[in-house]
Amino acid sequence: MHIEEHLEHTEPPKDMKKQIWKTFWILFALTVVDIAVYFQLMEYHSGYKNALFIILGVVKAYFIVGIFMHMKFEKKWLPYLIIVPMIFVMYLITLMVIEGNYTSFLR
């Protein structure tokens, strides 16, 4: 009985097509950076390298969610709704990595 309200969004930019291609090239570049770093520092294992990969991953995620999934143009509540719960995931992952290391120490 309720109608499927087709609600207007915060207007996406007029040059959406251009922006999509721009995003594509950014993602492409970031992946290339990933691989380049990987090859350059192949024998070099450190937390910094891993941190860099994770940061690059998060940046890529930002572009995919923001532009491709249109999040950047939605009202601000939606991003909160989706992103705030991810804190729990990060908490879980951090704790589990600590716990994994501890397991390694016990064995």
Binding site: M1, H2, I3, E4, E5, H6, L7, E8, H9, T10, P12, M16, K17, I20, W21, T23, F24, L27, F28, T31, D34, I35, Y38, F39, M42, N50, F53, I54, L56, G57, K60, A61, I64, V65, I67, F68, M69, H70, E74, K75, W77, L78, L81, I82, P85, M86, V89, L92, I93, M96, V97, E99, G100, N101, T103, S104, F105, R107
Partner: protein, 239 residues
């Protein structure tokens, strides 16, 4: 029915009721919320991966293998050491199919039926391409290399199965199969849904309905699959 139509134009507070506080339809909101919960499913698998991998941190007998010694093959280039090249190719395919998807959505906003159809078709091609690459990758992983691994009783084990693998500890193979498998399953279902929507587009269902929101919804799902791959790529292959 009537009150919503008459009042949506009235300036009311965002959370005042009578309309969506996010200005999106319930269908898209549902898709977002579903994706959020699906993200937690993937997270649980990645958590398992993080836990087990780190529980090998000080294990010198069977250390966790370095990905460049495992994923270093490329089709038709036998014997060439090309670590991660193939996975990067897969990543590009997936990102590209994401681009065509978002172009389809954009064309949908303009009600350009033909363009939507074309881009949907490209997206489906991209999805199938990715799945084929993954199939090759799995085959490579399962058959293994010529060297294999010497077992305690002197025999040599090639490749991988769920109980054992030549590359490193058992959970390495198990996690590879479950993480990429679960992602592949998502891609597969995405392709199937995309095909259905594509047929609907060609049939003019959305033209009749007056909007291409359905394309947006599957678009969200498709981008999510891409998003997950970004993290699988980072955690399983790079780190």
């Amino acid at each position: 029915m009537s009150e919503t139509t008459t009042l949506t134009n009235v300036k009311t507070g965002t959370w005042g009721g009578g309309k969506s506080p996010f200005s999106i339809s319930y269908g898209k909101l549902m898709m977002w919320i579903f994706l959020l919960s699906d993200a937690f499913t993937f997270s649980s698998l990645l958590v398992a991966y993080g836990f087990i991998r780190h529980s090998y941190a000080s294990n010198l007998v069977t250390p966790w293998p370095s990905p460049d010694h495992v994923f270093n093959h490329f089709p038709f280039l036998h014997g060439v050491h090309l670590p991660l090249m193939f996975v990067s190719l897969m990543t590009f395919i997936l990102i590209f199919s994401s681009v065509t998807m978002v172009l389809a959505v954009e064309a949908g906003h303009r009600m350009a039926k033909k363009e939507v159809g074309m881009y949907m078709f490209l997206t489906i091609l991209g999805g199938i391409g990715f799945l084929s690459c993954q199939a090759w990758e799995w085959t490579q992983f399962i058959t293994g290399t010529h060297e294999g691994r010497m077992l305690a009783d002197g025999s040599i084990f090639h490749g991988a199965n769920l109980q054992m693998n030549q590359y490193g500890p058992t959970p390495f193979g198990d996690l590879f199969f479950i993480v990429t498998g679960f992602h592949g399953f998502h891609v597969l279902s995405g392709v199937v849904i995309n095909i259905i929507i594509y047929l609907n587009v060609l049939g003019g269902t959305y033209e009749k309905r007056g909007h291409y929101e359905m394309v947006e919804k599957v678009g969200l799902y498709w981008h999510f699959v891409d998003l997950v791959w970004v993290f699988v790529f980072t955690f399983y292959y790079l780190i």
